[in-house]
């Protein structure tokens, strides 16, 4: 299977290289005319708006784009990205094939896959023609070409990286449990002090995938489309684990926090002992804002944790596709990526490849302060790749069928 993953990656890299080669020549001209077209346009950027620091980062980008390119960014703060997908769908139903209400969408995984299937994305691939695409390297970071094993086909531009990390209060807990087995033991010994965001929340689902990946010992079936035959067999260890944990979860597993900021707040309140985030710098930033005690630290599981890339996509009926591309290009620039990686701003790891940057640029990335609770790259250790997206809706449905009836 290792072989077939390599094979997949190789094909994509080849495909990408070909595109890159043919495109770079015409790129510069094409993009200048795009910038001209984008002048004065408004980009409705639909992005999850649940985190103040992300919102202010988008605000920062908006100011620069309006100054340099005369593009007006309106951040439409979503509570749930799927609601934006729903809106685009509603527009498609209504036959609105241009002048749609969303120009740029922060998306990945399941939502991207859903949009791709319902043909809600820009028909033509556009990402490889962005001038700043040259700073990325799909060889060292293949995930920028495959979103949860779903080929991006040049229809979404990488924005940032994420890795699942756990945080705990070192003043209360000496050694956190660094594997699913240890976590299970911890939950039994500390009833009511562990929980996770309620699936289908993105982080909640990621936690389920993390457990499943760890329990199933790198089962390669998870990287293939799920089917009715293998689903229950492959996921059986996960349900066993959850069933035995449930009675000792926070509120006996009868209710769950809505999402990871709420989970983080519960850690800050001392209601729970361990929180989960998909951003290694999240805890440090929360300490700086006074939302978590300064004794909070982070850790990852010994076997590695889930990692993925998040993207920007343009809907098929975007009203200002040209400006949206200019925005996506800016978001991919070393300048914007550096700002985003700054833990005092957002702390979202970059998708750019250091060897492809200038000396000064890569030095700036190196010199970024690490927050008090942020692990070093070495400590973050190995990452686990996302399972095929077809597992997510099935896992979601199975979790809901098992635990959502309130019994």
């Amino acid at each position: 299977m290792q072989k077939s993953r390599f094979y997949y990656a190789a094909i994509r890299i080849f495909f990408g290289m070909c595109l890159l080669f043919t495109k770079t020549i015409v790129n510069a001209d094409e993009f200048t005319s795009l910038q001209k077209e984008a002048k004065g346009q408004t980009v409705y950027f639909n992005a999850w708006g649940g985190d103040a620091k992300i919102n202010s980062y988008i605000g920062w980008a908006g100011k620069i784009l309006s100054k340099r390119h005369d593009i007006n960014i309106v951040h439409v703060k979503l509570t749930d990205t799927a609601s934006a997908v729903s809106r685009i769908l509603a527009e498609k139903v209504a036959g609105r094939s241009d002048n749609g209400s969303i120009d740029l969408l922060w998306v990945n995984g399941e939502n991207f896959s859903a949009m791709k299937q319902a043909r809600l994305l820009q028909e033509q691939p556009w990402v490889n023609s962005l001038p700043n695409w040259r700073y990325t390297d799909s060889e060292s970071l293949p995930a920028i070409l495959s979103d949860f094993a779903e080929p991006t086909d040049g229809k979404e531009s990488p924005w940032g990286r994420a890795q699942l990390v756990f945080s705990y209060d070192s003043a209360r807990l000496d050694s956190p449990p660094k594997s699913v087995a240890a976590l299970a033991e911890f939950i039994t010994k500390n009833p009511g002090r562990f929980t996770f965001p309620q699936p289908p929340d993105f982080i909640g689902m990621s936690f389920l995938k993390q457990i499943l990946l760890e329990l199933s010992n790198d089962n390669q079936a998870l990287y293939q489309p799920a089917n009715d035959y293998n689903f229950s067999k492959v996921t059986a260890p996960l349900w066993r684990w959850l069933d035995s944990a449930k009675p000792n979860l926070w509120r006996s597993g009868n209710t769950y926090p809505k999402n990871y900021p709420v989970l983080r707040q519960l850690l800050g309140d001392g209601e729970i002992d361990i929180a989960i985030a998909f951003n290694p710098a999240d805890a440090s930033a929360a300490i700086a804002r006074g939302e978590l005690p300064s004794s909070v630290r982070t850790y990852v599981h010994d076997g590695g944790t889930l990692a993925n890339v998040h993207f920007l996509a343009i809907p098929f009926n975007a009203a200002a596709p040209a400006a949206a591309k200019v925005v996506a290009n800016f978001m991919l620039s070393p300048e914007a990526q550096l700002k985003k990686a700054d833990p005092t701003v957002w702390g979202d790891p970059t998708v750019l490849s250091m060897p492809k940057l200038s000396k000064a640029q890569s030095k700036a990335f190196e010199e970024l302060p690490r927050g008090i609770a942020t692990l070093s790259d070495a400590e973050l250790g190995q990452t686990l790749a996302e399972p095929h997206p077809s597992w997510v809706p099935r896992l979601e449905a199975a979790w809901i069928a098992r635990y959502a009836s309130g019994k």
């Binding site: 103040a52 809106r87 989970l263 309140d269 209601e271 959502a404």
Partner: protein
């Protein structure tokens, strides 16, 4: 044509004009029912399995089957039914108890002053406050820990979120009780109260019993439609449920909303069926409510027949009335907690107050500016247009809508159909017309929710206006335009001001319609506040909550001061309306 002595002898030309005006009024009234009907069609079609965009070109029962297979559906429905009925019942009972025990006293005048600003507090703000107050690590717990409880850490049990829906009921009561109290007070304004009570006392009934036997049935009959609107709203509330309701399973409305927002696009079909199911649930609740009405009225009649004078109950009810004030108190206290959170830094359990205070979250004000401006602009324009429209309906043909039950129901329809049941369909309709996410659409949709309330304030004021003023103006030769400006506007200034304010407050608190129709393009402070609070950002949510109540309060002050100084001298000439200056 109104009340003029020459009504029957009016020349045929004028008659034709009147018919034109009448039909124009009816048509504009119907224009505001249209969105509900369109929205319902837009729900019924996908609910019956037809959705070409997803390749479903045939009608089928799949949507219904899939919806009914949702785990926990029964519990979700039970939760909705329970919260809706209990919240409405408690609010109504509480408002009546307060009214009965405090009427005629100074407290009621004081309460009435307080109620205006209080009903302007949006649902979501109350919910945010309750979370701050009642969570296991909330302010109440911090106030008594560790001194009383011995807890260094918050307990592992708690009311937010609670599986029984108690917090949700409490939140709804904190919001609806003042509303119903205000409605009851204004219904009372036109009743010969002291005479009725004197009769009651003369027959040997206690103060309280005379209220229950004589006055309350009259008031209830007058506000019944609105009580039903409260019932249906409570049953299908979304913004409060997002913050206060249990999540496994959530109330039905949230279950349906999740379906509409599911990344699996096919989930919209069962969700559409769920939206219709929600109407069914509303009907069940309504049936239950009507049966309860019958039972209560039988019981009252029985007590009356037995000659029960109820002196023994006086004391008990007086105690109860203090309890009835409790939800309002909790609501206000939650707001104080919100204010503290907006300033807090490093506030960890079990400290009673934050370790340090800073303006970090308030410095971020610029990011709230847009939603605040949007809220203000939207509320002002929607309220003004609604008041203008209703005023013109009443001025031109005031009897028409009052005489026609169908038109009356039409005006109240948006309040009588659960919002979740028609907004998705409406969104598709507006998108089809190419105007979703536009100011035009948003103001229009806000207006359909405002108009019933404006109607509620203005129509009785028109009805009870002393027509002799107009006759005098007529005989002095004033034309219709002059009459409007010289007689109607000054005399009705108070109710007009009140209706403007109510329209404004309703618009500010609208959550679901803004989300669906505004399409995220036009976001208001209420949408922002719910999203921030749902995402656990307490500091920013505190700021948003405070801003959210500041806007209507500023509006209240402006309207009140303007009326007092400009039209205050007319207030003695005109009774009625929700905001008399008594």
């Amino acid at each position: 044509m109104r009340g003029t002595p020459v009504e029957n002898n009016s020349p045929p030309v004028q008659k034709q004009q009147n018919i034109a005006i009448t039909s124009l009024t009816a048509i504009t009234a119907l224009l505001f029912v249209l969105p509900v009907i369109l929205g319902l069609i837009g729900i019924i079609v996908p609910a019956s399995g037809y959705f070409p965009a997803l390749g479903k070109n045939n009608f089928s029962i799949d949507a219904a089957r899939d919806f009914l297979a949702i785990p926990g559906l029964g519990l979700a429905c039970w939760l909705s039914l329970k919260t809706g009925l209990l919240a409405t019942g408690i609010s109504l009972a509480g408002s009546f108890i307060i009214l009965a025990s405090f009427s005629g006293s100074k407290t009621i005048i004081w309460l009435r002053r307080l109620l205006g600003p209080l009903i302007a507090i949006p649902h979501s703000t109350i919910a945010v406050g309750l979370v701050f107050l009642l969570a296991p690590s909330g302010w109440l717990m911090r106030l008594i820990s560790p001194t009383l409880t011995g807890l260094e850490r918050p307990p592992t049990w708690g009311l937010v979120p609670d599986p029984y829906g108690i917090t949700l009921i409490l939140g709804l009561v904190a919001k609806e009780l003042p509303f119903l109290l205000l409605l009851a007070l204004s219904a009372l304004a036109n009743k010969p109260l002291s005479r009725q009570l004197a009769i009651g006392a003369g027959l040997g009934y206690g103060h309280f019993t005379s209220w229950v036997f004589i006055v309350l049935p009259l008031i209830y009959r007058q506000i019944r439609l609105l009580v039903i609107a409260v019932l249906i709203f409570s049953l299908s509330v979304v913004d409060m449920s997002l913050l206060l309701a249990p999540s496994l399973p959530p109330p039905l409305a949230i279950l349906v909303l999740n379906g509409f927002h599911d990344s699996n696009l096919a989930a919209r079909l069962p969700a559409s069926f769920g939206a219709i199911w929600q109407i069914g649930l509303a009907l069940v609740a309504l049936l239950f409510w009507c049966i309860s009405e019958k039972v209560v009225s039988k019981a009252v009649r029985f007590c009356r027949w037995r000659g029960w004078r109820g002196h023994s109950a006086e004391l008990w009810l007086r105690c109860l009335s203090l309890f009835a004030l409790l939800p309002m108190l909790i609501g206000v206290m939650g707001l104080v907690a919100a204010l503290i959170w907006s300033l807090a830094k490093n506030w960890f359990f079990p400290e009673t107050f934050p370790a340090s205070v800073n303006l970090l979250h308030w410095q971020d004000m610029a990011s709230y500016l847009m939603p605040v401006l949007n809220s203000g602009l939207l509320a002002t324009s929607a309220a003004f247009l609604s008041v203008m429209l209703v005023f013109l309906w009443l001025y031109n043909e005031q009897g028409l809508i009052q005489r026609n039950t169908l038109l009356q129901i039409a005006i109240f329809l948006p309040l009588l159909v659960p919002q979740i049941s028609f907004l998705f369909g409406l969104q598709i309709g507006l998108s089809w017309a190419g105007i979703d996410g536009s100011w035009l659409a948003l103001i229009y949709v806000h207006m359909i929710f405002i108009i019933p309330y404006v109607w509620l304030v203005l129509a009785p004021a028109f009805m009870h206006m002393d027509k002799r003023h107009e006759h005098v103006a007529n005989s002095l030769g004033l034309g219709p335009v002059k009459r409007l400006f010289r007689v109607y506007l000054p005399l009705l200034a108070m109710p007009i001001g009140a209706s403007l304010f109510i329209g404004f407050a309703v618009s500010i608190s609208l959550y679901l319609p803004t989300v669906f129709v505004g399409g995220g393009r036009i976001t208001t402070i209420t949408v922002e506040a719910v999203s921030l609070a749902a995402n656990g950002s307490r500091g920013p949510a505190g700021v948003a909550a405070i801003l959210q109540i500041l806007i209507p309060l500023v509006c209240y002050m402006v309207v009140w001061l303007f009326l007092k100084y400009r039209f205050g001298k007319f207030s003695g000439m005109q009774g009625g309306g929700l905001y008399e200056t008594t």
